[in-house]
Amino acid sequence: MAGLQYVLKRLLMMIPTFLLVMIIIFLLVRLLPGDPAIAIAGDKASDADLAAIRDRLGLNEPLLTQFWLFLTNTLQGDLGQSIMMRTSVLEVILQRLPTTLFLAIFAVSLSLLIAGPLAFVAALNRGRWPDTLIRSVFQVGLSMPVFYIGLLLLTFLAAQLRLFPVGGRGEGFFGQLHYLFLPSMTVALYTSAIIMRNLRAALIEVLDAEYVQFARAKGLPVRLILGRHVLRNAMISTVTLLGLSIGNLMSGTLVTETVFAVPGLGRLMLEAIFARDYPLIQGLTLTFAVLVSVVFLLTDLFQSMLDPRMRLT
């Protein structure tokens, strides 16, 4: 019951957050230099054509009127019409959302699969060569820009060895697994480096804790100690970090989806910004805000499951 109340409270708290996001993004896109009418009609359009387009889009209305329309329409589930795509913003976002979600979930899964076992190996071999080797390799991953890692993977694994396709999305679940492996791995190499470092440090701290030493002294099996006492406690900070990483990952899709020609929300955001497509930028920002808020909520819920001392208040 307390859990349900907590979730409801958090959901209510999201309302002012979204309102703030809406105000900020509404003003920010309009502060950008550049004219959506030029983006629509092109540089060659006459001034009269541009004035007519601005009028048609309602861009000549006072800012307050425009914001009120944006707010009331959004509350009714209408994010408006995309200027560049001439279709419903919601429709475009819903069309691209599954690809980005697939990419994000795939990337997070790969990050955990890579970081988890290696963090254990490094922590259990603290100061010895496996630990040094793992940390050195991940240091390289951390210090290289995401787009560069992406291009390297594309060049060697896709273009030369032909193990994966060069960009694109793929059809169906397995098709997407195949096509989105390289972009997910590109993101995962970076994210897993951060998670591995954090988890390793947390594991070392927990391994040194008195209750673990006591469990060892009692002769409890290592698997039980690691699974029940060490991992569970070490995961608490890592889950927080993972939640933050997913937030970063959402903004990282702008680069990854462009390099790998993945038609997702990140690439759409980039196109919308260049085209000064105000309704689409606003709709996408709201979508990202919702996704990140949901991830943070899930992170908090998961943390409370790991550590009952963290009460849901």
Partner: protein
Amino acid sequence: MTRTGMIAALAFTTALGAPALAQERGGTLNFARYDGSRLIDPIYADRNPDIWMVGSLFDTLLRTSEDGNTIVGGLAESFAGADDGLTVTLNMQADLKFSDGSSLDGEDILFSLDRARNPDLGPWAGMLGNVENVTAEGNTVTLSLSQPDPTILAMLTTFNTAIVNKAVFDSAAGATDAERSANIFAAGGAGVGSGPFFLCGFEQGASMDFCANQHYWETGDDGKALPYVDGVHFKIIPDDATRVLKLQAGEVDAVEFVPFSRVAELDADPKINMNLFPSTRIIYSPINARETRADGSDNPLKDVRVRQAINYATNKEALIGLVLQGAGKPMTAPLMSSATRLATNMDLYPYDLDKAKALIAEAGFEPGTTITLTTLAGSSDDATIFAALQQMWAGIGINLVVEQVDGATRGAKNRSGEFDIHTYGWVDDVNDPSQVTGWLGYTPVRHAVGTGWESAKFNELFEASGSEMDQEKRAAQYAEMQAIYAEAAPLLFMYETPFAVAISKAIEGYVQTPLGANIFSRATISR
């Protein structure tokens, strides 16, 4: 009627006269594009990714030959203009059909041309501004003009005059023409167009499919209807490196807009044909020629001698080497590419540092004065241009600094005059120099491409050329306009570039025209 035009497309007559040859047919051509189409409708297409695809779905009454210099028949097999220049008569081919097999007749032509010249609809209506009336009787279509128009035949080859199916528009959902057009495009399928393909798949920003129009009128070398391929599948890959990798991995057959830094590498690849199609593309930089800058401060570039000096101080061959790896040529016609009809070819500001120094000293330019070059953020070409110009112009005392913006911001600055110099480019949409001349020099259009430069004589010549039917007199008017423009130097004249398209050797017959249109109708695949 003395100006009887070219009769029938060359290909058409050749096909009739030649014996049927074994011709590779079938297959889907996979083509990687730098940007996706948004709406391919003749009158609403306003971006190059849309404009350049119109011809694949919609045919025009007339066409331009592949070299861009001659007007030949299209849906109209012959055409003629009256002596007084006030009438154009077109004789349509017999038995024309849309892609769903329904017949294409006079009503469709009237409907399409009425749409094209309606100023309340698309932005291109002005091109047919002199058309007063269109009538169709049997196979003959007649255009009556309000004044002689030397560009009218070229306009009938232009994408916005392509023919659409009236019946499809009449039955489409939507309250306005724009809504009906958007709904027809979204639904796809055969019927609306008369071109060699019809739209059979579309995912905004991701992919697009063209399927062969089985009812297309034009025949191939084997005497059967074009196109040779079953269809074209487009993938949208904005990133240059990824697009090229896609071709190298064999996942697509062709990639457009190959970065010039990759041309040599792809040219050396035995599986790839690296094509540099001649184009009307010019790269130039408008110079703010106003008395004062937008902030009210004195504008050193108002002095024609300073503008001439920076043109003389620019080593165009070096720029071409750095940016295009040699795959280009300096601009020699001041208002257009040298491939455009009526272009004068002159030695346009050859690199001459001494002359540049003399001019800038004569103008009293204070050494060390800062000039800002506005470039596109993220463009490696622009970054190279800036670095090179900074070095070159330091020799005449200019402290060149850079301001990086995105395309929309650059467009807004061009209109408001908030710039010193900015990078820019142009590709003709019309096979006539009037469009680019109006854009670059005629004040009422866009203040001479935003430079603020104005010449009453130039404007007068441009207006007179708009109704001059004597080709020699018109050529003389254009020569004079170009001389005025070159002397005034409202631009930094830079270079012409080809269209770089890398194509698998399995593909033959693909063409990109000097106006940029992608022509797939004669492309073949031999896997």
